[in-house]
């Protein structure tokens, strides 16, 4: 239950709706019991007398209880669903508040791209917590207690039979099956994951498999993996069926014992026969509601796992640093900086040292996998170095809060998010105060002047081309108006001429600003004050374009290859 604590408290925040749902659920259950009880009593009564009143009462009470049962059921559903949806809202914002300080570090660690959709799915699946886990046993339990109470006026042994049945159905069986479910390792989830991975390999690796004559073997493996998954699904389905059947059987048996006990006491004259049918019908009516309890162990386990996964994601301390970046333009000093990705043997960055004076323009180049983006992450403090230090001006980066650092930078990452909305709403993220003129100016600067501010942007900017997205991200950076620019391959999808003219415009407008630009493209580097060349995590060359070309070293070699290549 520990995992579900947050969800539990968030649910209880909706006291009124939860209480109303329970009350109406209880009333609905009672009305159902009363309906059956009344019909049992009245039909017995009618068998004995010939009074018209019995008939009238019979018809009227059936109508009354029937109507009451239906209408209270309606109210119950309404309130329980309302409470659930409210709870989901709280859960989303609660979760978001805890996740936000951990981003983007957390996304780097959970490399699986589906982390976020899993989060959304998990939150969604917690809607079953109130509806199918927390509240059915309470309502069913209350109805059964009331039934036991009512029956005890007529016959204690019959009440006892109902009581025992109630304990079994509401407490013992769900608890037993929930435990059993937990003990069985989550075979379905595991085999599903394995099958999914195998399918991906089979489909993505198709060509290599075919050429290496491994297709038959792989498809046989895939079939086997599918079979294991199906077997696990079958076991799970059969277990659910078992719970359901056992639940129903216990409910019937309870009513059977009520009848047997009743019949005995009627036959020895201790209970008027008139009540027998009524009491048995009451018992049948009370146990009619136990159906949802059969699904409880499954939903409980599902909620528990969903809640645990959510907790796991946000279960870490955000960076506690609170320092600020020094005011004004700053020099950047990087000293003996090393970094290693978790669970990886080799260093991604190996003792990197360099200084970038304020107002300088630096390019960081190198082949893919050489550590360029890792260096940027360390500069942004979205990863912590293993060794070494980064200083902005007189202060160490390690003591500054991420938000304080970012506040002072114009950053363009390789992947920039665009929200569903308009061009304007996406630009305003950078600067809420900017007027339309400034927004337009930013668009003109990145040569997107043809875009309307009110033009729609779809989720993830999927109606924009790669080049448009990159230029729009640059426009945001421009609107932010800080004096330190960190740009990670900002124009990889923009044609060279356009990129060059945007750079020219940018450099001439902001001659005093500091620029750090990562690029795997080696053209247009002539204007940079300095070029840092990375290979395999090491800084192997640095200097101006001319210096590096004259040296005829690594950079020269890369440049030569690049010129050999047709795009």
């Amino acid at each position: 239950m520990g995992e579900l604590k947050t969800v539990f408290w968030l649910t209880l925040k909706e006291k009124r709706d939860v209480a109303l749902a329970v009350v109406f659920g209880f009333l609905a259950g009672l009305a159902g019991v009363a309906l059956l009880g009344a019909s049992g009593y009245l039909i017995s009564k009618a068998a004995l007398t010939a009074q018209m009143t019995t008939l009238v009462v019979m018809a009227a009470s059936l109508k009354l209880f029937g109507f009451a049962s239906a209408i209270t059921r309606y109210a119950e559903r309404l309130f329980s669903h309302r409470a659930t949806f409210t709870m989901l809202g709280h859960l989303r914002s609660n979760f978001f508040e805890r996740l936000a300080p951990l981003a983007p570090n957390i996304f780097q660690r959970h490399q699986s791209g589906d982390l976020l959709s899993r989060i959304v799915g998990d939150v969604e699946s917690l809607q079953n917590f109130l509806l199918r886990v927390l509240y059915p046993p309470i309502v069913v339990g209350m109805v059964l207690v009331a039934t036991v109470f009512f029956t005890s006026f007529y016959s204690l042994p019959m009440a006892l039979a109902i009581f025992v049945g109630a304990i079994l159905v509401v407490v013992v069986l769900p608890a037993f099956f929930a435990l059993r479910r937990r003990k069985k390792t989550h075979a379905t989830g595991q085999t599903r994951g394995a099958f999914s991975a195998q399918s991906a390999e089979f489909l993505y690796g198709f060509k290599d498999l075919k050429i290496h004559l491994a297709l038959d073997q792989k498809s046989a493996e895939l079939q086997e993996s599918a079979q294991r998954y199906e077997q696990a699904q079958q076991n799970e389905g059969l277990e659910e069926n078992r719970v359901q059947s056992l639940n129903a059987l216990v409910a019937f048996l309870a009513s059977f014992f009520v009848l047997a006990t009743g019949a005995y006491f009627v036959s020895i004259g201790e209970l008027p026969g008139l009540y027998l049918a009524m009491l048995v019908m009451v018992s049948l009516g009370a146990f009619e509601n136990v159906g949802p309890l059969a699904a409880l162990p499954a939903y409980y386990e599902e909620s528990r796992i969903a809640a645990r996964r959510l907790e796991e994601v946000v279960d870490e301390q955000p960076d506690p640093s609170t320092g600020d970046m020094p005011e004004g333009p700053v020099d950047i000093e990087v000293e003996r900086l090393s970094y290693r990705y978790p669970n990886d043997g080799r260093l991604a960055l190996d003792e990197i040292t360099f200084q970038l004076p304020q107002g300088s323009k630096t390019a960081i180049v190198g082949p893919s996998g050489s550590g360029k983006s890792t260096l940027l992450q360390l500069l942004l403090k979205t990863a912590e170095p293993e060794k070494g230090s980064i200083r902005f001006g007189s202060e160490a980066l390690s003591g500054m809060a991420q938000e304080n650092v970012w506040q002072r930078m114009n950053v363009v990452l390789q992947e920039n998010h665009f929200f569903s909305g308009t061009i304007e709403s996406n630009l305003r993220i950078a600067n809420g105060q900017a007027d339309a003129g400034q927004l337009r100016e930013a668009l003109e600067l990145v040569q997107l002047g043809h875009l309307e501010l009110a033009a729609p942007v779809y989720e993830k900017g999927r109606n924009l081309s790669g080049g448009e997205k990159q230029r729009l991200a640059m426009a945001r950076a421009f609107l932010k108006g800080e004096q330190l620019w960190l740009l990670d391959e900002p124009f990889s999808s923009v044609d060279g001429v356009t990129a060059q003219s945007i750079y020219n415009e940018l450099f001439s407008r902001h001659p005093q600003d500091t620029f750090v630009i990562i690029s795997h493209d080696l053209s247009r580097l002539e204007d940079m004050d300095r070029i840092l060349v990375l290979e395999d995590g090491r800084l192997i060359e640095q200097g101006t374009y001319q210096e590096l070309m004259d040296r005829r070293g690594y950079f020269h070699g890369l440049k030569k290859i690049e010129e050999e290549v047709f795009a």
Binding site: L42, S44, A50, T54, L55, M58, L62, K63, Y74, R77, F85, L88, G89, H90, R92, F96, L99, A100, A103, F107, V120, V123, E201, F202, L203, G205, K207, D208, K210, I211, H212, L213, A214, S219, L222, Q223, Q227, G237, L238, N241, A248, F252, L259, Y264, S267, G273, L274, P367, S368, G369, W406, Q407, S420, K480, H520, D521, I561, E563, E564, F566
Partner: protein
């Protein structure tokens, strides 16, 4: 949905058993009501001693057990029916994917196909495990109950016959409307989840711009707004089920009144049948309502079923192979070979001959058909017309295993499988590879040093859930694969960007070494490769525009000349 039904009914043993179990359950339901009333009648009206009703109680216990057993059997049959049906669907899909020659070239669809194998197939579960058993029960049990009711009191039966049809009728009318609304809601829900996902995905951007705090409140507000609009729809859905409840309540009320009148006023019925009828009638209506909800589950499966049917109905023309062995060296020729897929890309008929041991460069802008041509030459795609000759023998007479046994194909972004480095290198050799041979291959591919620096060596896990490799490392690993295979035919797609100098060197050397023994075809992006090729094929818009050596094309084919000159322009100093 018709095809799902066929799939279910093809497991006729299970269907038969389901009918049988439903019959048993119907009998048990009737028996349960019968013995209950009987016991009550005996002790209440006939003052029987407890001993006299003992056999009746025993019989009651028996039918309760029978009912539980029958329900259990129905549930179990539903589960196994569903699992088996899905198993068959998956097998069919996997087989279809395996035979589909396009699979290798249209890689962009792989994600969708994984989705079909998992979600879509599982999406049919509701139909098999819930709807089918419920439908079979609805065919049998209500009829049995109605028969008994008619036998006990035909007027009640008549009332049921008149009132019961209102339930499916109402479901059809109201259900359709709420269904529509509910569908809209589901769409909105997906949209809303999407919006939440949008914010989560943009979290980095939001934080970079210091906007994260404001979003939390927005999320809560939107959630509540969404709740309110959802509640509107749910209200009408709940209201319709309330109405449904009310219809059945009304019918039961009429029946109670009728029975009451006969019992009290006319005295034309006794307690026993009257009570029995009053127990059976609600069961009857409950079954009708349950069928309604099962029907909704079935509709949920319909969308998945449609996707699957569509996928399985796609016709694909597999590449046909024969038995003739392939001997190195390999000579390849195309005779008016063309390829077309649907309305999409078309490769126009091409004819040329690649002599054994030569190297050929394919040149053209992206989308000009280089990859498609290479895939046709590799026997991965079937030629729509014309022929591919391997050592003069038509490709369809050649043995597939022999052919691919002679072929290596190194793509720009090779796929590595989850497993050890060794397993990835010896993929498909089907023989034991000595460590020495493995090390020699890794050495030639320039990856031995890296492998030896890893604590696990050749047994290091890579691929999914293993160690990630950079682009250059992947290229070198795949080269090692080729060195083990020693192909007579080498197809190679040159990388365009982002490789380190070391990998560059290794690739050049390795290609040269492999080329000594093999016929090589390269999708070339390097001037060096192009100039050194014994033959250059220039493609444009799916058509072979020119074939010749570098010198010949420079002299006679002006588009080629201008292309080379454009590339060399401004970089003259660094070439040569």
């Amino acid at each position: 949905m018709g095809s799902l039904k066929q799939m279910a009914y093809s497991q006729n043993n299970r269907i038969r058993l389901l009918f049988l179990a439903s019959l048993a359950k119907g009998l048990a339901m009737i028996g349960q009501a019968l013995f209950f009333v009987w016991v009550a009648d005996e002790v209440f009206l006939k003052d029987a001693a407890f001993g006299e009703v003992m056999p009746l109680l025993a019989a009651l216990l028996g039918v309760i057990l029978l009912r539980a057993g029958a329900s259990y059997a129905i549930g179990r049959l539903g589960v196994t029916l569903s699992v088996e049906a899905r198993r068959r669907l998956r097998r069919e899909l996997i087989a279809a994917y395996k035979d589909n020659p396009l699979q290798g070239s249209i890689a962009g669809q792989s994600g969708r196909k994984v989705g079909l194998l998992l979600e879509a197939v599982d999406g049919t579960d509701g139909y098999f495990s819930k709807y089918i058993p419920q439908m079979i029960q609805s065919y049998t049990i209500p009829l049995m109950l109605l028969g008994v009711i008619f036998y006990l009191n035909w007027t009640t039966g008549l009332i049921i016959l008149i009132t019961a049809p209102f339930i499916p009728l109402f479901m059809a009318i109201v259900g359709k409307r709420t269904k529509q609304k509910a569908d809209e809601k589901v769409e909105q829900l997906a949209g809303f989840s999407g919006a939440f996902l949008d914010v989560l995905q943009g979290l980095t951007t939001l934080r970079l711009f210091g906007q994260a705090k404001r979003q939390s409140d927005t999320i809560r507000d939107n959630s509540l707004k969404f709740r309110d609009s959802t509640m509107e729809v749910l209200k009408s859905a709940f209201l319709s089920s309330l109405t449904l409840e009310y219809i059945s309540m009304l019918s039961i009320g009429i029946i109670a009144l009728e029975i009451g009148l006969r019992l009290v006023v006319f005295d034309s019925i006794t307690f026993f049948p009257a009570f029995l009828v009053m127990l059976l009638v609600p069961d009857f209506f409950n079954l009708l309502k349950e069928f309604g909800s099962a029907f909704h589950t079935a509709r949920g499966s319909a969308a998945s079923a449609e996707l699957l049917t569509e996928e399985l109905a796609k016709s694909h023309q597999p590449v046909v192979w024969g038995e003739t062995p392939v001997h190195a060296p390999v000579e390849l020729s195309l005779e008016q070979a063309s390829f077309q897929y649907g309305e999409g890309f078309q490769l126009e008929p091409a004819s040329f001959k690649l002599e054994a041991g030569t190297s050929t460069a394919l040149v053209g802008v992206s989308g000009s058909g280089k990859s498609t041509l290479l895939n046709v030459m590799a026997g991965l795609l079937p030629a729509t017309s014309g022929r591919l000759l391997i050592n003069g023998i038509p490709q369809e007479q050649v043995s597939e295993d022999e052919w691919f046994g002679q072929l290596s194909y190194i793509t720009q972004d090779p796929y590595l499988f989850a497993g050890t480095i060794k397993e990835n290198i010896i993929l498909g050799t089907g023989r034991v590879v000595a460590l020495q041979e493995l090390m020699a291959a890794a050495q030639k591919a320039g990856i031995l040093e890296l492998v030896e620096s890893l604590p696990g060596g050749f047994d290091t896990m890579i691929g999914e859930a293993g160690r990630g490799l950079s682009g250059g490392e992947k290229q070198r690993l795949v080269l090692a694969r080729a060195f083990i295979k020693k192909p007579a035919l080498l197809f190679f797609d040159e990388p365009t960007a982002g490789l380190d100098l070391h990998t560059e060197q290794v690739l050049q050397q390795a290609i040269e070494e492999l080329s000594k023994e093999a016929t090589v075809v390269t999708i070339a992006h390097r001037l060096h490769t192009i100039r050194n090729a014994s033959r250059i094929i220039v493609l444009d818009g799916g058509r072979v525009e020119a074939i010749g050596t570098h010198e010949e094309l420079m002299g006679s084919f002006s588009p080629y000349r201008s292309m080379i000159e454009a590339q060399q322009g401004g970089t003259q100093a660094w070439v040569n």
